[in-house]
Structures are given as C-alpha cells and as structure tokens.
C-alpha cells in the first residue's frame, strides 16, 4: 500500500512542470472560447471532455469562423491524430492493467503523459496505474479549473484587440508548427500546406482551406520517395512501429 502511495506521489512530482507550463494556455483557451461565442459552461466542458489543448484551440478558432460543425470535429480529430502513435506505444507498457483501468488511462494520454510513460518504461521500470494517475490527475484538474477561470475572466476584458487576443492563436499555432521541425521533410511539407491553404482561402474560401491545405501536405509527404535511413531514425514516433 505504502509502495503504491510512493508511486502516486512520484507521478504527482512529474506533473508539476506540466501544470505550470500549461496554465497560461488553459486560461487563454477559456478567454478565447468566450471571445468566440462559447459560454463558461461550454468552455469548461470542452476542457473536461476533450482534454487536449491544441485541438481545443483549433476547435474554438474554427467555431468562431462559423465553419460547418462536422469540419470543426474533423479538425479536432486531425490535430489529435498523433495520439494514435502514442497509444500504440504506451499500450505495450500498460497491457497488464485491468480493462477498466486501461480505458481510463487512455483518456489521460496527452503529450507529456506519453513522454514520461515511455521514459519510465524504457528505464525498465513498471508503469503502474498509481504512478500514471498521480501524474495525470493534477494536470487534468488544473487544466479544467484554469479553463473555467479564463472563461470567467474572458468576459471582463474590455478591449480584446488592444491586448492582441484575436491574433494570439496564429502565434501559438506557429509555435506548434515549429516544434515539429525535426521531422523528416518538415519544411517542404509546411510550404506545401501553406501555399495550398492560402490558394484555397482565396479561391474556394474558408473553411475548406484547412482540409485542402492539410491534405496537400500529407499527400506530399506520402508521395516522396522513401529513404531507408529516415524510416529508422530520428523521430519519437518511429519506435512505435518497428
């Protein structure tokens, strides 16, 4: 029992930097959700049920542009698609948990949770449910609470334009794009998506620039000749497959 408690607190300790780093984005999400027409309850529900920062911000951005609902959902799905690879990798580490605990565990599988679980597994340590939830619960609870807080304060901001609220999301999304720059053919993929989405934006119009631009980048990546050394090196997602 005390062993399990130790595991839990070890997880809690790992959650601290994540809680600190994600706080501004949770508050920003809440404020922007209000700005894009969500209620406080809806913003809080979104954080509690989706629990994925980038996808939530993409969702409210497109919602604010009055994009067709199914396309908003599809974009959330697309941004979160990387979790498929996390899931396949972490699955091997938590296979021994009872079914219900696994089902709960997958809900909390966000980027830092994946990274720490992989690290623990690679060090030859067992990934226990107590450790996993010790890390997951503080991140989740703070994320949801700070989203609600941001939403409540978001209504009090008198002039959103002066503090740049309407343009913070493109800056944030640019940061996420840059964070993938170590991946193979990152620059040509980004250029393909950027050009296609800008042309689509000017011709077909919003919201189709999202699907068309994304498709252009993905098809470009798939069509390029496969270099053997690339499939075996350099990216965190590769070991999942091999």
């Amino acid at each position: 029992m005390s062993d399990r408690r130790g595991e839990f607190w070890q997880g809690v300790r790992l959650s601290v930097p994540v809680v600190v780093a994600s706080a501004p984005f949770a508050i920003l999400f809440g404020a922007l959700a209000i700005d894009n027409g969500f209620s406080v309850a809806e913003a809080t529900l979104m954080s509690a049920s989706i629990y994925g920062g980038a996808s939530q911000l993409v969702g409210i951005e497109l919602f604010g542009q009055h994009v067709a609902p199914w396309l908003v959902v599809l974009s959330i799905f697309a941004v979160n698609f990387r979790h498929v690879l996390y899931s396949a990798a972490v699955g091997k580490r938590i296979d021994h948990w009872p079914f219900l605990k696994q089902a709960i565990g997958y809900f909390f599988l966000v980027d830092p949770q994946y990274a720490e679980a992989e690290r623990k597994g690679e060090n030859g340590e067992e990934v226990t449910f107590a450790w996993y939830m010790g890390m997951a619960l503080p991140i989740y609870v703070f994320w949801v609470a700070e989203s609600a807080l941001g939403a409540m304060f978001g209504r009090l901001i008198p002039n959103p334009h002066a503090i740049g609220l309407d343009f913070l999301l493109p800056i944030y999304f640019l940061g996420l794009v840059m964070s993938f720059r170590k991946r193979p053919r990152w620059l040509p993929i980004v250029v393909a998506s950027a050009v296609a989405s800008m042309i689509a934006y000017k011709t077909v119009g919003s919201p189709w620039h999202v699907s068309i631009g994304a498709l252009a980048g993905v098809l470009f990546a798939a069509a390029m000749p496969v270099r053997p050394e690339e499939t075996a090196a350099s990216d965190e997602t590769v070991e999942v497959v091999s």
Partner: protein
C-alpha cells in the same frame, strides 16, 4: 441539444478514439507501410500550418512582425518563450501603430 454541445461531445469521442485507437488498431500490425507512416507523421504540421498561413495573408505589419519574431525565438526557446515574445511584439506594435 445545441450545436456547440454537439461539437464538444463529438470532438471528445473523436479524441478518445485517437487515444485508445493506436492500441486497438495500429499495434496489431507488424509494420506500417513507410508511405502511410510518412503521411501520418506529416499530419500535425500540415494541419496547423493551414491555421497560420491564411491568417498571415490578411495580417498587417504588427501581426507579421509578431509572427516573424515568434518564429525566430522558437528556434532557440520553448513554446512559452516564443509565444510571450510574439504576444509582446504584437501588443507593443498595435499600441504604437494602431
């Protein structure tokens, strides 16, 4: 049920499917075709780029300067540093040039 609520719940189901789906589907395959894998690898950068590029297309000097500074800072700093740098440039320039 309101449209907003529908979007949130469908988004939540879609997200959960990505989190459990890799374990249920991908891990059953011995190997993924390299082209499929290359395509999957490109998904996040490709999707997120489409949210930046058109915004830059219709942006003014303050917004473009903020994006440029943020991109440069991101080569060295983390996400938070680049975000704060971009926001600071944006707010300052909007204050001075309107």
């Amino acid at each position: 049920m309101s449209t907003t609520l529908w979007i949130i719940l469908a988004g939540a189901v879609a997200t959960y499917l990505t989190r459990i789906g890799g374990h249920l589907v991908i891990s059953r395959f011995e190997r993924i075709h390299p082209r499929v894998e290359a395509g999957l690898n490109a998904v996040p950068a490709a999707v997120l780029t489409t949210l930046v590029a058109p915004a830059a297309l219709s942006a003014g000097p303050a917004e473009l300067a903020a994006l440029a500074v943020a991109a440069i800072v991101s080569l060295r700093g983390g996400l938070m540093t680049m975000f704060l740098a971009g926001a600071a440039v944006l707010i300052a320039l909007r204050h001075f040039i309107g």
